[in-house]
Symmetry: C3
Subunit: 116 residues, 3 copies
């Protein structure tokens, strides 16, 4: 399974624990360099990038995965809809103009789609 | 991203607001003629085609998207399971014999799959 | 639609009734030999393989689909996370080391992805 490209689509804020565990287990299986992994967060899922104190640990888990090469993106439409300030996002999060457009684009580039 | 074909699979009635926003934002990005878009509604999601008074606005939003070229389908199995009368459906909704079979068929035809 | 390969990804225990109905209806449409069908259960969905008395009927429904050729798998990571004993699983359930890795692998082999 070389040259794998995998996209995780997270659209619910509650799904993050499952999604991050999915990614962690997947990377254990294929190895850190075994796949290109991107997470597209849209809708309510973008809120996880601006966590309250008690959810900071989840953000640290994302940061760790990011250090392992996982790309985290946030949908700008969703950030705006939730009045979240793009400039205050965590440094490892990349903003994409539209989450769904990103999901479509990545699939046209050969990414495998997974909805955790 | 020309000649794009995108399928939105909606299987929960509660997911419609998110799904319709997804499609609206996506069409803003790629343009009304930038993609062929089909929505397959199965399971409880078909109920949205027969809305109570307070949810009529959502159906109007679907009708508007339909005017923009988005194809809305309903799974006949799901209509029957929910005792919904096919002949009373909104005019813009096309009935397909099986929602999942439609999702599979469309993917074999090159449609990109998205679960909102 | 010959030589079809379809993967159903079930990651919530509550989604099983919908998923099993999806598969049943799909097989009615394409015929028992019309498609290769695999179900990958991960996260909380693996609990359905160890049902309490009142949910035994659902397991029987799975067994019946299994007799029709549907392959049911369970993610080992998820079994361990839920302290479920692999050796006590139903005979028709195959354990895969990682559910997400299986979902990815199958898609690289041409399986169509569906999230019920």
């Amino acid at each position: 399974m070389k040259d794998l490209k995998v996209l995780f689509h997270v659209s619910d804020n509650e799904v993050w624990p499952k999604a991050l565990l999915n990614i962690t287990n997947f990377l254990k299986d294929v190895g850190q360099n075994g796949a290109e992994v991107e997470v597209v967060a849209n809708a309510g899922a973008v809120m996880a990038y601006y966590p309250p104190e008690e959810k900071k640990e989840q953000l640290e888990q994302m940061a760790k995965l990011s250090h392992m090469g996982v790309k985290f993106t946030a949908c700008r439409n969703a950030l705006n809809a939730h009045s979240l300030d793009e400039s205050q996002r965590p440094g490892f999060v990349e903003v994409v103009p539209g989450g769904i457009t990103e999901v479509v684009k990545k699939q046209t580039e050969g990414f495998i789609y997974i909805k955790p």
